[in-house]
Symmetry: C2
Subunit: 261 residues, 2 copies
């Protein structure tokens, strides 16, 4: 890494706070650095109280769109010097949120390069696992209904293995959002009930011949820390976004000119 030429990475955290930290940690782990000083410059802004729950907004289409708060945070990151930005939340990439964020940034004359986690994930699979053709998805109901991954996978020539809504809601979404045992309610631990649902989900994709399963919610990396389940590849979207942030930050191409601080 060349500290002089590297661009400043900005991370929108707080969705939840642990996901932002994990993304930062993945950037650190994947950076080839021999001393402290060779590590990449990173700004992480975690304002969990300002960003409403993404899935709740998508489900109800009521309340304030979290896009406005997210766009303001990206503006603050840019003011502080960030040139390449990633959001540590898959659901924030659903078009009803993501498209409003990009429109707000354009309106404000933003020059940051905002990476797109689901697009980077599909790109990662294509570049690193060319044998993969049939791809399953585990995500929140928000990401599921917005069809972010399903559309990208089909456009990329993949066969998307997407469960029916009953299974999605009762098994996959529940691992994340169950108010008692779900991952969001128990940060730092994985409950026995979540393990059982996780096994059900893996069996579902295995029976349908998936070559890979996208962990399309940042919280799911806690449930599935492994890279593989049997012959299926498990794709951690926090990791694919971290790799993309490093790629863009260290790219010798001229980046967006940083705003004066």
């Amino acid at each position: 890494m060349n500290a002089q030429a590297d661009k400043v990475i900005g991370i929108v955290g707080g969705m939840g706070p642990q996901a932002g930290l994990t993304l930062f940690n993945r950037v650190l782990c994947h950076t080839g650095a021999a001393t402290d000083q060779q590590h990449l410059p990173v700004i992480l802004m975690s304002f969990p109280g300002r960003i409403a729950d993404r899935t709740a907004f998508l489900e109800a289409r009521a309340g304030s769109n979290p896009a406005f708060a997210i766009a303001r945070i990206i503006g603050s990151l840019e003011n502080a010097g960030a040139q390449v930005v990633g959001m540590a939340c898959n659901t924030a990439h659903a078009p009803p949120i993501y498209d409003v964020i990009t429109a707000e940034l354009e309106k404000a004359g933003s020059r940051v390069k905002l990476l797109h986690m689901p697009r980077e994930t599909c790109r990662y699979i294509g570049e690193n696992h060319p044998h993969v053709r049939r791809v399953g998805l585990m995500a929140t109901n928000g990401t599921y209904k917005a069809e972010v991954y399903a559309d990208l996978l089909r456009a990329g020539g993949y066969e998307a293995v997407i469960p029916g809504y009953a299974f999605q809601d009762a098994v996959i979404h529940r691992m994340i959002y169950d108010p008692h045992f779900g991952v969001k309610a128990n940060p730092g631990a994985v409950a026995r009930q979540v393990r059982q649902l996780a096994d059900q989900a893996l069996a579902y994709f295995h029976e349908r011949g998936a070559h890979a399963v996208i962990l399309g919610c940042t919280e799911l990396a806690m449930v599935f820390p492994e890279r593989r389940a049997g012959r299926m590849l498990l794709v951690d979207t926090t990791e694919t976004l971290a790799r993309a942030l490093i790629r863009e930050a260290t790219c010798p191409c001229p980046g967006p000119v940083p705003h004066p601080a």
Copy 2:
């Protein structure tokens, strides 16, 4: 936590990058929050390439004082909204660095409340472990020679157990800085040689009747993840700073008025 009233926490990271992340993580772990939205607002700025090694500066008294870069980063944190700031590095609190930081902040008209990790650590011991009278110190040569902790401990009425320089350099400093097996050269792992030096260090303080040992370098929490070694309390300075940041951020007292973004 009351998201409306909480002050924004700023963290100066990058010294090394992992220490900044760990401090943020400790803030998360010690915050009593039932939902994502109840977590405290935190901005972490990690610019490792801009901040020269603190101990190298203190030892040589040559090269640029890292205080100037640190003060500029605190200024950026303040511009982004931070009101209470912590630096994830004990050595940056040595007076030749710390006093220049506070002078620079004063010159710039800064209104942030900058917490002092070693002072907060002594305060933590006094408030939570009143039986402790004899306190040992493990730190970098930079912190050791600046006598930051020794002075604070004596002023607080403690008996400071400070090894002679030969032991400090060959055993304690070496755990952190040995170019081959030291913690800074092997992030994420603790080498066998470090474990041996750690045992020697603990035996030293144990033989001298220390009631507590301050892990006065953020990297040492990796070597000593336990809270106790035999009857000795091990005090993690990242943890004491995290608790102090939460206390100040959630304190109902009026804080510094945030700068307009």
